[in-house]
């Protein structure tokens, strides 16, 4: 079982990102589970969301304490101690940032904000970071993510988000 923890700010779509990831992995034939940290969510406040992906049915209901992957949607969160809480030796951090960070774990940084501003015209990076996750880890293929975006959003929003995911995916693939 792979466990993922996403850190974002209220309104940035960390919860939606985990939902889309779970749905995409589900389309890919995996058992999945996605849930928010159930906080009192205010726009801008730090929030967490979780996703589990497995070849077996998932019954466990507790939160994720030792994630295999951490996705950070907002560079300003990189100073929070909870980002690296519970990380294992081979855990991987994927962070939206235009510069490198000194985490002791393996870290990939990708400037999703600039790409999102370019494609969407807005600083909403949740889908871009899914492209990064798919690109870097190869754990979920691109195709089901695009299918979920088509289902989850309408018309232009779906199109632009698909473009965004594809670009993030292509720029990070095999890194």
């Amino acid at each position: 079982m792979i466990e993922i923890r996403a850190h974002g700010r209220g309104g940035q779509g960390a919860v939606t990102a985990m939902e889309i990831l779970a749905k995409a992995a589900g389309l890919d034939g995996k058992y999945t589970q996605a849930f928010p940290n159930f906080g009192v969510e205010r726009r801008g406040a730090p929030v967490r969301a979780f996703c589990r992906i497995s070849d077996e049915p998932i019954t466990i209901r507790s939160q994720v304490y030792e994630p295999d992957y951490v996705i950070v949607l907002d560079p300003s969160l990189s100073n929070l101690p909870e980002i690296s809480s519970g990380l294992k030796q081979d855990s991987v951090i994927l962070i939206n940032s235009n510069n490198s960070h000194n985490f002791k774990e393996k870290t990939y940084h990708f400037d999703a904000t600039t790409l999102a501003l370019d494609v969407l015209g807005k600083d909403i990076v949740n889908t871009a970071m899914l492209g990064v996750f798919a690109g870097v880890t190869g754990l979920v293929p691109l195709e089901p993510i695009l299918s979920v975006l088509d289902e989850r959003f309408n018309g232009k929003v779906a199109e632009l988000n698909k473009q965004l995911v594809e670009r993030a995916y292509n720029e990070t693939r095999g890194e």
Binding site: L27, V40, E143
Partner: protein, 396 residues
């Protein structure tokens, strides 16, 4: 430019995706509940939103707005009004649904007894959440457990799939027994968690659950009165009827669980309790709701059995006694407490086992109140204590 796979294998993958998509969809528990409600075709749904039930009422409202759910949605000014409107609608003889949580069900308290006393088969989803104060929006089961004396059937589910399945079963159970029924799903842990759910097709549900035909109902061309005064000579007789209806409900719940299995290939124990890994075990955990999933993941490793209580009302006393026949100690893990006493499920399990020959030791665990996460470590410690066979009640 599309990166990734060559066009052909992408096409193949899309075919694969389509096949799997038909089988199971990833959705939130709240969405699964709304899907079940739509398939069960209620005529009237009075609703008042409250966290974490809101996702259920929102989705039902969306379905009504897009025309895919043909029910009279009544937007009321409180939960007390919601359940009162349910009483009125159900008395008119139509299938009636509502959903609530926490303070909402507390505000309904008065009318819950009226609904059951009038023998109205209202179905209500409860997205379990703690009761204030201190104010807390997270999950425990204090809200519905506190209503266990209200004369409603109470069924607790473990996951989104069971929330769907139990909703479909429950309309049938309520209408056959003429008892209002709550389907209790853990707030957030089920309501807001996305996981695979298999949605039955409409024709299977229609066959399983035909149109509701009330035994009695209000009808201006054939007038009757409901809820008239019962003097001391008769009041207890009516209560005895309700008690007998509850006793008969155990059989109905078991049968409906079997019937549902024949249309869905899914069933949950005998409908009242579900035992797992119990054969040949000396120790067992007894619990309700989604935390059973966390326990489930450790049963084999810890060499312990599980009895998941699905029906809190009617309380499956005989089934629990039978399941505990060869058990030396059981631990009752629950997300509620009767302050000044102990956990309510613990009290009932202990009472059920009091007269049995084997009389296993019964340990109590109060946990997860106000959303406190029950971790794998917590579960390991709980199971260790159960195996120690030292009777006491502890707060995890």
């Amino acid at each position: 430019m599309r990166g990734g796979m060559p066009a052909e294998s992408r096409k193949e993958r899309k075919g694969e995706i389509m096949k799997k998509k038909e089988a199971k969809k990833i959705m939130s528990g709240a969405h699964a509940v709304a899907e079940a409600v739509r398939l069960c075709r209620p005529d009237v749904i009075p609703m008042y939103p409250i966290t974490p039930q809101t996702k259920i009422s929102e989705t039902i409202a969306e379905m009504s707005a897009d025309g895919s759910l043909d029910a009279e949605i009544i937007r009321v000014e409180s939960e007390q009004s919601a359940i009162s409107a349910c009483v009125g609608a159900s008395a008119m003889g139509v299938r009636t649904y509502t959903a609530t949580a926490s303070q909402g069900i507390a505000l309904m308290h008065e009318i819950l007894f009226i609904a059951s006393g009038l023998r109205l088969p209202i179905v209500m989803g409860v997205a379990n959440r703690s009761l204030s104060a201190p104010i807390n929006i997270w999950n425990d089961q204090q809200d519905s457990v506190s209503q266990r004396d209200a004369g409603w059937i109470q069924l607790y589910v473990e996951n989104a799939q069971e929330a769907f399945d139990t909703h479909v079963q429950t309309f049938k159970i309520a209408e056959e027994t003429r008892l209002p029924t709550m389907v209790c799903l853990d707030g957030y842990l089920i309501s807001h968690t996305y996981e695979p759910v298999n949605i039955l097709d409409a024709s299977s549900v229609s066959r399983f659950l035909p149109r509701y035909k009330p035994k009695v109902s209000l009808n201006p061309s054939n007038p009757i009165a409901m809820g008239t005064l019962a003097t001391p000579e008769h009041f207890m007789e009516f209560k005895k009827q309700q008690q007998e209806a509850m006793e008969n409900a155990t059989g109905v719940i078991k049968r409906v669980n079997r019937e549902y299995a024949s249309v869905s290939e899914r069933s949950y124990g005998n409908g009242l309790i579900e035992t797992t890994n119990l054969d040949g075990k000396e120790h067992a955990i007894i619990t309700m709701g989604s935390v059973a999933g966390t326990a489930r993941s450790m049963l084999e490793k810890e060499g312990i059995g599980m009895i998941r209580v699905k029906a809190m009302r009617p309380f499956p006393k005989e089934d629990i006694i039978k399941a505990c026949q060869n058990i030396r100690s059981v631990g009752v893990l629950e997300k509620d407490v009767s302050l000044g006493s102990e956990g309510s499920l613990y009290t009932e399990v202990r009472s059920a086992l009091y007269n049995t020959g084997s009389k296993p030791k019964v340990l109590g665990f109060i946990a997860g109140l106000g959303g406190k996460d029950i971790t794998l470590d917590d579960m390991k410690n709980i199971m260790k204590k159960i195996k120690s066979e030292k009777e006491n009640v502890s707060w995890v």
